[in-house]
Symmetry: C2
Amino acid sequence: MSFEYKQPDHKLTLIPGPIEFSNEVLASMATPSQAHTSPEFIATFQSVLQSLRKLFKSTDPKTQGYVLSGSGTLGWDVAASNLLNPGEKVLVLSTGFFSDSFADCLRVYDANVDVLTADIGDVVPLAKIEEQLKKEKYDAITITHVDTSTSVVSNVEAISQIVKKVSPETLVIVDGVCSVGVEDLEFDKWGVDFVLTASQKAIGVPAGLSILYISERALAKALNKEKDTTFFASLKRWTPIMKAYESGNGAYFATPAVQTITALKTSLDEILSQPVDERFKKHAQVSDNFKKTVEQDLGLKILPVNHDVAAHGLTAVYFPENINGPDLLKKLSEKGFVVAGGIHKQLVGKYFRVGHMGYSVYAGHVDKLTKALKESLDELK
Amino acid sequence: MSFEYKQPDHKLTLIPGPIEFSNEVLASMATPSQAHTSPEFIATFQSVLQSLRKLFKSTDPKTQGYVLSGSGTLGWDVAASNLLNPGEKVLVLSTGFFSDSFADCLRVYDANVDVLTADIGDVVPLAKIEEQLKKEKYDAITITHVDTSTSVVSNVEAISQIVKKVSPETLVIVDGVCSVGVEDLEFDKWGVDFVLTASQKAIGVPAGLSILYISERALAKALNKEKDTTFFASLKRWTPIMKAYESGNGAYFATPAVQTITALKTSLDEILSQPVDERFKKHAQVSDNFKKTVEQDLGLKILPVNHDVAAHGLTAVYFPENINGPDLLKKLSEKGFVVAGGIHKQLVGKYFRVGHMGYSVYAGHVDKLTKALKESLDELK
């Protein structure tokens, strides 16, 4: 970080991403220009790629991280175009809007997609997954770790165990956009093959980066793919670049987002300054506490009725029946808090979503929001 | 901009992108979090999309600008996957490394590519282009406005005139990565169909944005394409989003890079604070002056011998015969200037490149670099 910076007072963005950023992360965004192959930036990018290994608890040197300019969505294209050949079969576990969109992306690349859809606000039962994997042979399975539309967290470890037991060749692809940095994800141990995430959620950096992590066998498939179906999202093209930067050398395929990657280094340094399990525990505590307060003190209903499947980075709350949703969001905005509307197709207008990830969890923003929410409800009664 | 910021002293990055940024642009990168659908960010993005029309001198309301998270390279995928169907014919005018890479991208999407290659440091002769267009029917022609590897600027207006005369149905696709913001580009008047560019060159914003501009007929082709071949780079998916933001409404397909787009607003406001032709003239003056000094005062040879085809945003200079290239770059670095090595496959190691775009042109960086270059050469004699 090149200077002391204290961000001005502003409305707190407590949506499930983009989240609030630390002063140090924002200061890093204002880093003066550096050449993408300068020693300074190479050291930054090297640190980022090494830190990703720690974040994913991966010690296998044959796994590989990637940071591309793009959004979380780009990660779907990377998975679809690099890990699958046209016609290959994919089992999509759908826990909401984002799972379904991932399925749309897979179909664009001619994957043969089957979808197992969970009940709204629930996960796909493990028994159903096992049954389906026994019935059909799949080249890959996709799991939306946390579907931001429903606030449901899937049990990646348990699902992956079933895959290993029933259909070990099936690649395990995890959409970790709203989970990485808040929910535990043990890449090697759980046998995950590919995780895609983005910068603007629990990783705590402004939007603009697609962050990926791949296993040895998934990478081998990508590198040996006969027919390329993407240029910008091609792992064949990006792998030597990432390996170069991680080993301390510059390389060029497309210009990296120097400032945002510098901010990513700052945020990953902050995240890894304590054991990551401490971070996950802290998020779970704040989340559990917020959910309890919302239900017990404020008398509101939250979306996953079964708290075992409720994500820890956000809370989806039904609007109370006697209150007009937009009025509540407006009240909160007047009090300086931005929360998100609901986006699940069947529930639009019926609920709102509060993000509690990263900086906000440590800076006490959630307590302030809780107070504002209580006041707003009282005023609207 | 939310605060006063003066960037610290640092090595000046005078490469053909990323360029140096203004204090105001860097301050905008540190904008506190805003929701991507907040009124604040919608106003920012609306302004950006409206400003792009002015930058491209377009008054046709049926043209459309796009700003995606990505790099310049992503623009090639957008062109290849949205404007062409597999098997369609493309004539690539190659003036260097980047033209050839664009051709590689087009082939990934199964375009049928013919390449007309210019002599190194020259453009493809207009007569040769006309002859080829008469010989074969092309669905599109690609022009690298400025190929950063050779510092050659193509005459987009003249080429487009030939296309209109000989083969008016052919889409005119311009790679403006190293031209937009420094070379004139009259989108409507010249009959251009698609321009792709990036944030980190003459547009003056940190890397991370792919910036696109499309004509009515090219957009119609993209929207009516039968088979989608990309998800993240799909204009079918992005067009309603950009139209919404430009008309002052939020919309969601993938999370936009809020901070970098805010910096883009700041930079476009700076660029449009004077008539753009004044900006182009200023860049031409600084470029002509630098080239003259390098040749006449320093006795060095520059790459395009014919100055009529020399780009104005950078200068490619051969290392003098009696001096070791890396030594010269090291000297310059010690004096606080970062310039770029050469990347044309046939000339690697034989030349270096100096970027003179945007903030550096106005802040007197080029004069300082000239002095350091003279001193370095003297010391290495």
